[in-house]
Amino acid sequence: MARQWGMVVDLDRCTGCEACVVACHAENNIATVGEDQAARGRAMHWMRVERYWEGNFPNVRVTYRPVFCQQCGDAPCESVCPTYASYHNPEGLNAQIYNRCIGTRYCGNACPYNVRFFNFYNPVWDKPLNLQLNPDVSVRSVGIMEKCTFCIQRIKVAEFRAQAEKRPLKDEEFNPACVQSCPPKAMVFGDLDDPTSEVSRLAQSNRSTRLLEEVGTLPNVIYLRSVS
């Protein structure tokens, strides 16, 4: 059964607490790069909370916007990859096949959302921090691109379990790590092709927008505008 995994991010709920940021690091074996590398723009945050200031003191406002791979329907990163390392999986995800990646970084340039991250060095975990690594997720080596996968390892486990129990996958039976952790429930994950799912219900909201829609990437992440 074909699914179209998607996510709805309610900007009116997001509080910028960054629980999603650490959840993503913990789930996906994302390396910390240290101060020097971070200062050089090489920090890996598949999930980030963008913060924009508006106005000047005292009439100043902030908007938060969690940004991660938008799992585009027409993904610019896919067509530019010469080795098919970046490809569209049957469930509509922009998958990154780490083994195929040779590090042209073209996908990183083509991505309008800048949500692709490059391993400039081999990742290091000071022992025994390596014990925190999630065995379900491969550790990426130097010279390859990585990005948000919608926690594909969780998707696969849930699908296998449903298959083994001979039942359809239930809506919100599982969630990517960021969605799971989000305290104000700003993120909802699910099958956009299932009209009964929470995510497709929310996607119908009159507040729904997509990020950089004008670029034509057909993202599968829907943002619900903040009300005020």
Partner: protein, 461 residues
């Protein structure tokens, strides 16, 4: 003042092949050490990770791709110029074509290395080529990088053949003049050329076909290189003007490189008699024209962006007009437009050799900066302003960049030591067709010595 004579030509052209001064070894040694330093830097980079470069997120491409585009641009010096000149039968091309075509081949070799140098995992570069593999998967033909691979390999094959074919008779000439290992070496390279009418006819035919075929290839190569950028939805990359803009820029920088190369060869190998101010004047005019074409393109590109006034593009626009890259941008305009225009539009300056060489030098610098400004500012200011970044090259990138210039010079030096740098037979043919110099002094009745043409002033000004 020496008259043009085949004998002297033979001697002048062949002299560099056998006689080598200490200056050559010194220069070669310096260049080789720079190349070795670059090689060491590259090995260090492969060993440690490409993190030793200054690249970051979101500026995933920097000096390496700048060098790639720059050198592929320089490569248009030769084949394209020489093919155009051949097709239009510009007779003054004859002493120029070989120098130019050699630039093409070496610039392509150097430029073609950069997509590999810049890879995160350079040891897997061959995955870019379509070959059946155990992975059961072929490269993605949708990727402009694949088109690059096709275009560049076609161009490299074509221009190598284009360079080689007219050299065969000259190899035969060297073979006949040389002794020892050289005789064998050039004998091998000349393929046993004897100069029968059939050989000459086929060679000329082949060159005519090649000139026709190589032109669109050259145009396509830089168009496709431009598409590496224009195909990605990056502000100010995603532009239809990029194809012709890049091709024009390529020819522009190619001519500049050719003028510099010619000036150096002329001086180093005392070829004043063949590479005359006349040639520099002609190429100078061409450079001036390309400078104006380049200016036209940059205005076309900038004006449309400015008028369109879309936020993402304007962010990039302003970063080059009134931001971080302003100085670099205006320096580029001075290099590519102001200096060439001032020097080359004034006949007195153009007719010197120094003038065009100065203009060419600034153009080469300016065009390198242009490539840099095309690549880096848009990546620094790509859509979501939260993810904007900055790029600063590291010593590794600078060393490797310096290494490519040294490698170019070194390869060119070695080439000039191994191959007659002026196409001897084409020169002779030219003189014969111009009726300027008797193609050989007749045995019975000595022909009267003809004076050189007025527009071919003697060398050694």
């Amino acid at each position: 003042m020496a008259a043009h004579s085949p004998e002297k030509l033979n001697e002048d052209v062949l002299r560099p092949l056998v006689r080598t001064s200490w200056r050559f070894y010194l220069t070669g040694g310096i260049l080789a050490s720079i190349v070795l330093a670059a090689l060491a830097a590259f090995i260090y980079q492969v060993y440690t990770g490409i993190g030793v470069s200054g690249l970051d997120r979101p500026v995933f491409w920097g000096f390496y791709i700048t060098n790639f585009v720059f050198w592929i641009g320089i490569s248009h010096a030769g084949t394209l110029i020489s093919a155009i000149l051949r097709l239009t039968d510009a007779r003054w091309r004859r002493p120029v074509t070989r120098c130019a075509e050699a630039i093409t081949v070496f610039a392509l070799l150097i430029g073609g290395m950069f997509p590999i140098i810049h890879l995160g995992r350079p040891y897997l570069f061959f995955w870019l080529f379509p070959y059946p593999s155990e992975r059961g998967i072929w490269p993605n033909f949708h990727s402009p990088l694949l088109w690059d691979a096709f275009a560049i390999s076609t161009y490299l094959t074509g221009s190598s053949i284009f360079l080689y074919l007219p050299t065969i008779p000259d190899f035969a000439l060297v073979r006949d003049k040389a002794q020892g290992w050289r005789k064998k070496f050039y004998g091998f390279l000349s393929l046993g050329w004897t100069g029968t009418p059939k050989q000459w006819h086929r060679l000329e035919m082949a060159m005519r076909i090649m000139a026709v075929v190589i032109l669109p290839v050259a145009v396509s190569v830089h168009t496709i290189v431009s598409w590496d950028f224009a195909m990605a939805p990056v502000p100010m990359w995603h532009s239809t003007v990029f194809g012709p803009y890049f091709v024009a820029g390529a020819i522009f920088s190619g001519i500049a490189a050719l003028i510099i190369a010619m000036a150096i060869l002329r001086k180093a190998f005392h070829l004043e008699e063949y590479l005359t101010p006349f040639h520099f004047d002609k190429l100078g005019k061409l450079l001036l024209m390309m400078s104006l074409v380049w200016a036209y393109f940059i205005i076309a590109e900038r004006l449309t962006v400015w008028y369109g006034n879309e936020s993402p593009e304007m962010a990039v626009y302003w970063s080059t007009q009134q931001g971080r890259f302003t100085h670099l941008f205006w320096f580029m305009v001075i290099c590519n437009l102001a200096v060439p225009f001032l020097i080359l539009s004034i006949k007195q300056f153009r007719n010197t050799i120094t003038g065009p060489v100065i203009a060419s030098t600034t153009v080469v610098i300016g065009m390198w900066i242009e490539r840099f400004l095309i690549i880096v500012p848009p990546l620094e200011r790509k859509y979501l302003p939260y993810s904007w970044g900055t790029y600063r090259p590291s010593w590794v990138e600078i060393t490797i960049t310096a290494g490519t210039f040294a490698a170019m010079a070194l390869l060119y030096m070695i080439f000039s030591k191994l191959v007659p740098i002026i196409s001897v037979w084409e020169m002779k043919l030219g003189w014969q067709q111009e009726g300027e110099v008797p193609r050989a002094v007749a045995s019975q009745a000595p022909l009267p010595q003809l004076a050189p043409r007025a527009d071919l002033p003697a060398a050694g000004n």
